[in-house]
Assembly symmetry: C2
Homo-oligomer: 459 residues x 2
């Protein structure tokens, strides 16, 4: 640090409106962790809660000149420690920047980074439009965080991920300049694809202060299928058969442990004995959705489903989607979670799920698996007894084994949550040295002093 | 140049299989231009026609060591001079790399860069799958070129552009290393979005030697609507009304001059008096497509269409799509073309088309306009009498005026063709100095010696 911290704090306070800077330790505590609850979280020098691009630039310039690192933060819902506070650094919180404007003529939304995903959806819906990407945290995650992680969700199997909807960004760079990338244009190839480079950059290349998003017409009502299976392969075999026959708008998987954890919460009548459950939705117009769901039901039965039923009632269907969305909070009641996000090519899903069960047994760590089965992205949830440090050690090892398994199966260590700090130790092994070096080179070009989120992604 | 060219040629010939290197001037001529027919095309030192990633690496290493620039080339169908040969450089042609493999289980295609877009489509179709991006040149453009330009097409209004389908790339970097980015995984956020960065990089960051593409199920049969309008605003007003009401799978525009040029070729009965024509397609399943087309027809009539008809017959519908695809070759018969690719937000389409007509009149240069109206991307075609150099001068000025007009309307100077060399002089004015500098910085990080395609994009 090139400048005395007190001087930096004085400069920040003098340069921003009153109330922008938090230094009280108890008040800062709310900004030190994301949902990864990284035990290595440092105590920041300050939390800066900005309300504009200009204020973000001010923070970046002062911090940059003082050599004080910045950790950007949306709603702190991240699962990989991407917003873990760095000791002596500044947490730059975008949570006060919540404006959303919908332009129905261009079918775009312009959102500030602190706006919640659910707020963007609601604003779009009020115009008969839809912003599809729907991470399970959509009610409490920020659109800025979504862009930083290239967030996915349950609809991705048909509707794609966040990057497919980002048309433009305003970004504050490490030198304090603010740039406009892209804009409300569906097609634009002038220059490098820099908008796409910043999406998924996990706060390591710049501070996103505005996002222009593509919207599509409101989703048609869905027909929902729920099927219970007596064995894991029975369920995982049905998945590629379904995706080969149709384009479901949702295709989700829950294993035995997850079903029971959710049933503990909801008492909705899920089959506690089932080895696995699939929730399938189709939103094709007219009678087509029901036809496709009927076909999917046949596939499930042919694959060994012991029970299946479908519904055209939107509320009944939504109840099962909600059950799926509750998976992580429900399993979280059973212990401390280590959350994985591995994804594999669809034909290897069965091997992944089976392999995870073997890891769980060997390590003597329960692992609940919930998955966006239709796109091969899974969330194995390692459940650790908080009073059993030996189990925690075994779980930490198993955490790596799950990623190694996915990589061996041609998959990725992270499909949608991001590398953050938690998975950083496995990144080079997954990408290989050359691609890791390429990542580091682009980072160095854009943030030569490693001002933004040091410790995340590149290590 | 640090090494004598003869030595470089000897090294190339010694390091590659016989027949890889072309130096005969007449034979090299076929590799000096793309469809922009850039009058500044240089005479290359050699054309290297490689058959593998390893051979491409060999060329890059030898050229890099000798300081000889490389211009990558797919099928040479580009419209912006992106593959224009550099004097004394090497044209690295990927045209011999044509392999395509379809994996129906992962629903991906792995294609070498010289494979034609149409070949990729045909290979996918043989498995009941579809690779949607369809530039009008799809029968003679390469998939590598498509990736390099982030090519669009007629289907983009509903199905997106090339980058939305690229899951992975093998790229040879400026230092000769080959890297694998991404892969057959629908979701992967491990590290920076480098795959997306290389898409649309116009051969300036690396040599693409393999592409992994996402495929979707075969397109449902389309219902086609054709409507003729008595005035430009009548047609352009209908466009946003149609896109607000439905998601057409195609929404194309042709103006009076284009209609007549195409009718000269096809004698198919297009209305020669119409000011403009729209071709609309819907591919929703079942009866839904016909319903939507009927709705679109009503919108056209309400907007002033003098004639409209629709067809569910795929061949009849295809005849009109073919007519649209012939627009550029048909207009090309009338003179030398300067081809634009400006795009605007949809609500400004009318102003763009009207403004172009005014530019045409002032400059006394005919400008035919054909457009992917549904996404706001247009192709104004400036037609110049090859025997009238004064008109050519006026047309060169008008070329810039069209881009300035689009920029003033909040649009882009290039929606899908790329900057190449032709539009390079307008890039900084469009992006602004800061974003231009950011582009240059990323380029410098990846290709510090400007080995790849010097003169394209950044100037």
């Amino acid at each position: 640090m090139r400048t005395h911290p007190t001087h930096t704090l004085e400069l920040l306070s003098a340069s921003l409106p009153a109330g922008s800077i938090i230094t009280d330790p108890a008040a800062m505590d709310a900004y030190r962790w994301d949902r990864a609850r990284d035990s290595n979280a440092g105590i920041p020098l300050a939390v800066a809660r900005v309300t504009s691009t200009a204020e973000a630039q001010t923070v970046v310039r002062i911090a940059g000149a003082a050599g004080v690192p910045i950790v950007p933060r949306g709603a702190g819902s991240g699962l990989s420690g991407g917003s873990t506070a760095v000791a002596g650094g500044i947490v730059l919180s975008l949570d006060r920047m919540r404006d959303i404007t919908i332009d129905p003529r261009t079918r775009t939304a312009t959102a500030q980074p602190g706006a919640l995903n659910a707020e963007v959806k609601a604003a779009a819906a009020s115009h008969g439009l839809w912003y599809p990407p729907d991470p399970s945290s959509f009610e409490f995650c920020s659109i800025g965080g979504n862009v930083a992680t290239n967030a996915g969700g349950l609809c991705c199997v048909k509707y794609g991920v966040t990057t497919d909807y980002v048309l433009g960004l305003t970004v504050v760079l490490a030198d304090g300049r603010a740039v406009q990338l892209g804009g409300p244009r569906l097609k634009d190839v002038a220059g490098l694809s820099l908008t796409k480079l910043f999406v998924g950059s996990e706060g390591t290349l710049g501070i996103i202060t505005e996002v222009t998003l593509r919207l599509i017409p409101a989703q048609a009502p869905s027909v929902t299928l729920v099927a219970f299976f007596p064995a894991l392969p029975s369920a995982t075999n049905a998945v590629p058969s379904i995706t080969a026959a149709m384009r479901p708008s949702m295709l989700e998987f829950m294993d035995h442990m997850t079903i029971n954890a959710v049933e503990d919460e909801t008492r909705m009548g899920l089959d506690r004995d089932a080895a696995a459950m699939l929730v399938v939705q189709c939103d094709e117009p007219g009678a087509h959705a029901a036809e496709q769901i009927a076909h999917a039901a046949k596939i499930c039965v042919a694959s060994g489903a012991t029970e299946q039923f479908s519904t055209t009632d939107p509320d009944d269907g939504e109840a099962f989607v909600t059950a799926r969305r509750m998976a992580i909070p429900a399993v979280e009641r059973r212990g401390t979670l280590l959350l994985e996000d591995v994804g594999v090519p669809l034909p290897r899903l069965g091997d992944l799920v089976t392999g995870i069960a073997e890891i769980s047994e060997r390590a003597r760590v329960p692992i609940a698996v919930v998955a966006h089965a239709g796109d091969g992205n899974t969330h194995p949830l390692l459940v650790v007894d908080p009073n059993d440090p030996a189990q925690r050690e075994r779980a930490d090892l198993a955490f790596g084994e799950v990623m190694d398994l996915a990589t061996r199966l041609g998959g990725t260590i992270t499909g949608e949550h991001g590398v953050g700090r938690l998975k950083q130790p496995w990144l080079a092994g997954y990408l290989g040295d050359d691609v890791m070096e390429l990542n580091a080179r682009v980072k160095a070009a854009l943030d030569p002093d490693n001002l933004f989120n040091p410790g995340a992604v590149y290590g």
